[in-house]
């Protein structure tokens, strides 16, 4: 990765991590859309006061390059999390990858705000500004489509997390499901799940996840890529009863392409982890891959 010339990077991606850190740490009010930082999604999280003290950066290991262009990053939460939390990690990570890899030209929250007007805007000049930034009709349609597709994926992922244990999630960029250009994996096998009362607060955990991502600086060295199709795959139990996702019984995690694995785990040894749950529930081979039936098409103004 190191041999990619600087000019190929999208502007400002390179020396981002430290700056980002400061922005994240300071809770702030909604800013004008134009200069929201890339981590707007985490920024929103941060408005809630963290209830659990998370020891940040102690366990975040730097990216360890493995053979074949594979990288992994481990994040350890100091306690158990909820199922809903697992869904949120996936969701936020997916949004983040899409933005960082130029599949969305603004962060997901900003786009939602633009095209749906869901987030409250500060009154005054923004009316004017929004009109200026508002793209041509066709672009707007395309963007709506991307947002709708993503919403579909999020909605059904949430259902899936409620129905079954989800040990692994794959986000595949470009190519086919079996030979993507880039592969992002979230491994939840080390996670221990418990009820809301005993669990860490989700927002704090999301913040920790993102802190680790920024510290490890996993996206800055990458070459800019054109927009492509994004496939989301999730592992779940054979009989979980989800019908939106398509089961792929023969699927094997591809080895081709660039790979980043995010290993999430919980440090508290007293509760059972997902993988031990899995083992006790049923055999490993009952956990199969499911593929989201929509391929989210990356979107850019200039594409």
């Amino acid at each position: 990765m190191g041999d990619i010339p600087m000019m190929l990077r999208k502007g400002g991606h390179s020396n981002r991590s430290k700056v980002e850190e400061q922005k994240m740490a300071a809770p702030r009010a909604t800013q004008p859309e134009a200069d929201l930082p890339r981590s707007a999604e985490t920024g929103l999280e941060l408005r809630e006061a963290p209830a659990v003290a998370v020891t940040v950066a102690l366990t975040a290991q730097p990216v360890a390059p493995a053979p074949g262009g594979a990288f992994s990053l481990s994040v350890v939460f100091p306690g158990s999390v909820t199922r809903e939390g697992c869904f949120r990690f996936t969701c936020e990570f997916l949004k983040h990858v899409l933005y960082q890899r130029q599949q969305l030209h603004k962060s997901y929250e900003q786009l939602v705000c633009f095209y749906r007007g869901q987030l409250p805007r500060p009154p005054g000049q923004e009316e004017d500004m929004v009109r200026k930034v508002y793209p041509k009709d066709q672009d707007s349609k395309k963007c709506q489509q991307v947002l709708n597709d993503l919403d579909g994926v999020f909605q059904h992922l949430e259902i899936m997390f409620n129905l079954t244990l989800v040990p692994r999630i794959l986000i595949l960029l470009g190519g086919t499901a079996v030979s993507p250009k880039e592969l992002y994996e979230i491994n939840l096998q080390g996670i221990s799940v418990s009820g809301t009362e005993e669990s860490l607060q989700t927002s704090a955990c999301v913040r920790k996840l993102f802190h680790s991502l920024f510290m490890a600086d996993v996206f800055s060295d990458l070459q800019a890529i054109p927009t492509m199709g994004i496939i989301v795959m999730a592992q779940g139990h054979r009989n979980c009863g989800i019908d939106w996702f398509r089961p792929k019984l023969n699927y094997k995690v591809p080895t081709r392409g660039r790979k980043l694995t995010v290993n999430l785990s919980c440090s508290h040894g007293n509760s059972t982890t997902l993988s031990t749950c899995q083992e006790s529930n049923s055999a490993w081979d009952d956990y199969i891959w499911f593929q989201a039936p929509v391929i989210v098409k990356g979107f850019n103004y200039f594409s």
Binding site: T176, V178, S179, L249, K252
Partner: protein, 432 residues
């Protein structure tokens, strides 16, 4: 692989005892049932139906498990092994059950140049693909083209598995299909890739079909084209490296990539084109070492192809326009489809050629329509498969224009449409 080796001997024998019957089980898209469970239920079903005549397809089941998980169960390709239509006793045959899911995603594209996003160098299909479903059955040829091609690949795999020394016995994994346009060469390649993926699903997790866009490999930069070809094959190589995947590379209109180099000696062709031919030839030699790849090529103009490429092709199969018997089968399948969709109504029994032969082509109420169809088929000789498949459509468009017609009217319209085809063809050649 011993089973596959058995396949080869089949043309020599005809008794049921050693007959291999392929049963294709199409699992529903949302079904998550284990293959073993499905196999057990399918075997139970086949046990109850001990004798069948030719191919047969079940789409409705008594068994609740099958109804929930299986779209169809089909006994296929019996005619490739048995010349005569004869009762097949399923209990005595060796049953090979292939269970597959169809991929619905459609093709994905491969670009070679990051800057040139618009130029698609290749289309990737994940097999078995929903688009190619039933394509194999729709292709009708007279000779044993289909079984020859299947057996060729089976032998290729057997030789690779047994580690036959490629220096002593050489095979190149290249198939060249040539013949006039519209005879289904490209379709046959796609269908074969699909068929083999299903047949070999016990060995390979899935198949990949890579359709190379030949023209996209020519660069605007002088001397870059050869490099583009190499780049393309490098990408293919990456896919082949995964031993669990069966890779088919389809190069359509291969003469554009492998134009005869002797023609360049006249000096009118750019030397860049020679480099492309050289690159393709060396890359094919590279790729043939891998056991899980088959290169399928098609061409209309064989005399333009470089001799070194033709030499590398293991099978050079000519695919000509269908004979009257094949035309009859094609029309028969078209009419069945129209009756299924109730465009031809009421439903009429159409006899097959074999059945017509049995009754000695005697004209009676039952055989009247079939004999008429036979006449039309004879009249249609010389038309390509592509034209034949669209004739029922043209017949309806030009001569019928009503939502439902009787078989008699439709056959008259079809006959008129055939006449019109020949008229148009005569006019075209007059102009030329």
């Amino acid at each position: 692989m011993d089973e596959a080796a058995g396949d080869l001997k089949l043309p020599l024998q005809n008794d049921c005892e050693s007959l291999q019957i392929h049963v294709e089980v199409h699992q529903k898209t949302n079904s998550t049932a284990k293959k073993e469970d499905i196999k057990l239920s399918v075997l139970k079903l086949l046990n109850r139906h001990s004798v069948i005549f030719g191919d047969y397809k079940w789409i409705e089941f008594d068994d609740c498990f099958l109804t929930n998980n299986v779209q169809s169960i089909a006994v296929v390709d019996t005619e490739l092994q048995l010349k005569e239509r004869q009762p097949i006793s399923l209990n005595k045959c060796r049953l090979l059950i292939h269970i597959f899911h169809l991929n619905e995603e459609g093709p994905s594209t491969e670009n070679l140049d990051a800057e040139d996003e618009d130029i698609v160098a290749a289309n990737h299909w994940l097999l078995p693909a929903v688009e190619f479903h039933c394509l194999w059955e729709s292709l009708i040829y007279d000779a044993e083209i289909k079984s020859d091609l299947l057996n060729y690949v089976t032998t290729t795999l057997l030789f690779s598995d047994r580690n036959v020394n490629n220096n002593l016995i050489s095979w190149n994994r290249v198939i060249l299909l040539h013949g006039p346009p519209g005879t289904g060469k490209t379709s046959l390649c796609r269908a074969m890739a699909q068929k083999l993926t299903i047949r070999l699903s016990h060995r390979y997790r899935y198949g990949q079909l890579i359709e190379i866009n030949s023209h996209s490999l020519f660069s605007k930069w002088f001397s870059e084209s050869g490099k583009l070809v190499t780049k393309m094959f490098q990408k293919i190589q990456e896919l082949i490296d995964d031993k669990d995947v069966l890779v088919f590379v389809l190069i359509d209109e291969v003469e554009s990539l492998t134009a005869a180099r002797s023609a360049f000696q006249a000096g009118t062709e750019p030397s860049d084109a020679i480099r492309v031919v050289n690159a393709v030839l060396t890359q094919i030699d590279q790729i043939k070492r891998y056991p899980n790849v088959v290169i399928l090529t098609t061409s209309n103009i064989t005399e333009k192809i470089d001799i070194a490429f033709v030499d590398r092709a293991d099978i050079k199969q000519y695919i000509g326009p269908p004979s009257p018997a094949a035309v009859f089968k094609i029309y028969h399948s078209c009419l069945e489809e129209l009756m299924k969709c109730q465009i031809i109504y009421p439903r009429q029994q159409l006899l097959t050629l074999h059945e017509l032969e049995m009754i000695g082509y005697l004209e009676n109420d039952v055989s009247k329509l079939s004999l008429l169809l036979k006449d039309i088929s004879r009249k249609s000789e010389g038309l390509s498969g592509r034209i034949l498949r669209k004739l029922p459509f043209l017949a309806h468009a030009l001569h019928i224009q009503s939502p439902s017609v009787t078989m008699t009217t439709f056959l008259q319209a079809l006959s008129l449409a055939v006449d019109k085809q020949f008229e148009e063809r005569a006019k075209l050649s007059d102009c030329a």
